[in-house]
Symmetry: C2
Subunit: 512 residues, 2 copies
């Protein structure tokens, strides 16, 4: 089975159901399917062949939805880029993936000249949205309008064919392209059907970024059911509330940071949220007080998903019925966990030799299932490491209780997650060490009410050096994607070190 | 992924949950898993190797449950035999599958000597249940008690490994073994999760025969959730009601014939059925009046499954929310349909050249998905025919409306379904044509209140012959499995024939 089936199913079984609701405009699955076939023809008309990569730098829009499926229908491979990355990371991902085409929103057009310099192999740039095309960029919509929907029959990719290359932040050496096959994403779709709480008449709000797997992976479940898609181009708390009310949204995914902004919005009570059935949350730890507040304010149930791009993404889910606010003073209350493995995914907690640890003992969380990625694009060494023994090594440290609930306790990999984005500290440390006045550096995450975590640099200066906090942050801004930059710098006399000379970040994290 | 995962999941995540409830005895998944591993060791101790077939002639019992999983864990292949077949069909299936071992319930012990004569290659017979073993039969339970549960680690069969050979009635030449792989049955499990209505605390009553795919396929869904299994050894309407009340059963599968017996039972109202959440029904057409009656009497929702052993088995489902008793005077009201394709299965309606017919036009229902069988065991010619073009040809004639609801209208194959059992008329016709006084014969199904359909023979006698209805039925009883025998015989002067001389069964069926 493959992902094209999901759309074909909708077009066959639910041709008159609304696929896309965009303001006052509603498009049926029949019309959407036709448009997607036009888009697929347009891509092939650019000379793209089966397996060629198409990068996208798009907000949450109907065009992104259309393009996501049209890459699948045309047999090409989508490379959804994080719109919050800096040009360097964007260009790196384009070059690394060998993308021949890039589709950008008008908003990102100003970045194009620099992208073209840094990724010179890029052949074609398409610009989405309405209006005239800018210098050298082709108008995506005009090409689609002119294309023949009959040119591409429904084809049937093989299940191991690559469906998408999803770039995630890497520890070093730039973002890594996660290779997800049709089977990977399709399997996750079946796994998700049981936990998502989607039913007849479902209306989904794409509120989390669609370049992230946490939202886009649900597209297929929605197609299978003939459900509606509503789009929030960039996250905004009040706009989320407004769209839920306007389109009678039933389901959506929000990261804890977003939930925090929504429940604290002064106009929260002004909106009718009675259509909501289920909020899916995840991507970063959920503080219990925030969960309690959200559960008391939203008129629906909650499900937590724990996963990662490498798992397409679901690994575990804390189902709605396990959101019980009792015994929360205990260290291990299910509501504080990431839930149980979703059906279809096996999870173990292991020691450094990949041997199971006993329930209650902390180890690395590893997972196996048909949803686990084929590997990182062009990274054989990383693949050997992360997929050793046929198990995905998540890098998360946790424990499983004797009822199968998984508690994520820490991260094995040196990572901070501001607002749910994976940021590996070596990349930041490497950038800062380039500063001539810095002697030693350690990057840690510190708790933050709004962002879950925020990035702190703890540094020692060279003798006589006078670099300031502001200067060092500015240094990072010139070199790193915005959300990877420290929000605070603490200068110390010396960094705490263990016997082997390794910096003890746990000591730094415990300091006030 | 494979089926062993389903049980391993239960033993890992729900070790203390009740797997089996048998009278006053309750067994946890931890204990059941241990027992299954002992059973697997016992099978291997008999000299069975990976891929060897183990036939079973068992009622719905905890031992069958255990044995079903222990064949999977030991890497052998189960061959569940229809306990209502005659010795000839049973022995044929044992020989055809090359089964080395047969496990029988004590009830079927009297058949064993004849089975051994007809299936001489059979090496070992195990007898289930308690008490001493009979001549030459080994006591299954004693062998299991003595076996080492540690002997077999959880192994991981490959997804294309054969899991079971499910024999179904064939048109000619004896029953056919449907080869279902781990992937086939596992995929159906994921498909079923969305439609079964299973949730936390599910208790399943195995009321339909577990040698049939319609019940046994649900075992895996139940394991995935850590749900309870309750067993009704042979169907009985009042015992069904009693067990639902006693064990607070939430879900079960019933064929229409069984529903009919249950709702018409004089003691229906005496039982507390408030625990019920969902009744799954299928295997033969559901008369609308019976469905209406059942919906008014059972305190739960209904889901219809349409499928066949060859599809592991689900092809379509009429979900609970589509059980709307409105517009039922229309020819095509959804509640009269078999529902829509389940998620993961593609369905088309085609003409004799396998080309799609328009919505509303009658054609053959064909299906595709990872749940479709590998083929019939040792029947390359039948496989070429039934799986041509990569699609399972169901032999059912039907139509799809423009919302994807499938209506089953007739059967392409010459088949009658008394009580939900597939019976191919050529087998009966062939047996009757052996009678020296019969000139011509046609077997048709006629509607029957209790059995859905019953078998009628319409025959012409040779000149001067005086064979009676009773004599002809007795002739069949000596040669055919009981449920394949006609319940009535009508003698006529001549059978209606078409231009090519083919008997027009449709004309016969329309006669009063």
């Amino acid at each position: 089975m493959n992902l094209n089936y999901c759309l074909r199913r909708a077009c066959t079984l639910y041709p008159n159901a609304i696929a896309i609701r965009d303001g006052a405009r509603a498009t049926t699955y029949r019309e959407t399917g036709r448009r997607i076939h036009q888009s697929a023809s347009a891509l092939r008309n650019l000379g793209l062949q089966k397996g060629d990569r198409v990068a996208t730098l798009l907000l949450n829009t109907p065009e992104y939805y259309e393009l996501y499926y049209s890459t699948l229908v045309s047999g090409t491979v989508i490379v959804p880029l994080n719109t919050r990355w800096n040009v360097r990371d964007i260009a790196f991902s384009i070059s690394d993936s060998g993308s021949r085409v890039l589709v950008v929103d008008r908003k990102f057009a100003p970045l194009v000249p620099e992208i073209q310099i840094l990724a010179p192999a890029l052949e074609t740039i398409l610009i989405a949205g309405s209006g005239e095309s800018d210098d050298g960029m082709l108008p995506y919509n005009a090409l689609v309008d002119a294309a023949d929907p009959e040119q591409h029959a429904w084809d049937d990719p093989r299940e191991d064919d690559l469906a998408g290359l999803f770039y995630t932040s890497g520890t070093t050496g730039g973002p890594k392209g996660v290779m997800l096959s049709h089977r990977n994403l399709y399997t996750n779709t079946l796994h998700a059907m049981y936990v998502l709480g989607l039913g007849p008449g479902a209306v989904w709000l794409h509120s989390a970024p669609m370049f992230h797997i946490a939202d886009i992976s649900n597209l297929h479940s929605l197609s299978m059911l003939g459900a509606e898609n509503v789009f929030l181009p960039t996250f905004d708390a009040e706009e989320t509330l407004r769209l839920i009310e306007r389109h009678r949204v039933t389901n959506l995914v929000l990261v804890p940071t977003m939930i925090n902004m929504v429940v604290n919005h002064p106009n929260f009570a002004k909106y009718d949220l009675s259509s909501l059935r289920r909020v899916l949350y995840g991507a970063s730890p959920m503080p219990l007080p925030l969960l309690e507040k959200a559960m008391s304010m939203f008129p629906c149930s909650f499900t937590q998903g724990y996963g990662m791009t490498e798992a397409s993404p679901l690994i575990t889910a804390l189902e709605w019925q396990d959101h019980k606010l009792e015994n929360t003073d205990r260290k291990f209350a299910p509501v504080k966990s990431a839930g149980r493995p979703v059906m279809g995914v096996e999870v173990r907690v292991v020691d450094d030799n990949d041997l199971d640890v006993a329930p209650g003992v902390c180890g690395e969380v590893i997972a196996r299932g048909d949803n686990v990625m084929q590997g990182y694009w062009n990274r054989p060494d990383a693949n050997k490491e992360v997929l050793r023994g046929g198990w995905l090594h998540t890098g998360d440290l946790g424990t499983m209780d004797d009822e199968g609930f998984i508690y994520i306790l820490d991260r094995k990999k040196d990572m901070v997650k501001p607002g749910g984005e994976n940021v590996y500290t070596p990349e930041i440390e490497s950038a800062i060490m380039g500063h001539p006045e810095i002697l030693e550096i350690a990057i840690i995450g510190i708790p933050h009410e709004k962002w879950g975590e925020t990035i702190r640099a703890v540094a020692t200066r060279r003798e006589g050096a006078g670099v300031t906090e502001e200067q060092l942050i500015a240094w990072c801004r010139d070199r790193l994607t915005h959300f990877k930059c420290p929000t605070s710098v603490v200068f110390v006399e010396a960094l705490p070190k263990g016997g082997t000379g390794k910096i003890q970040k746990n000591v730094l994290r415990e300091r006030p």
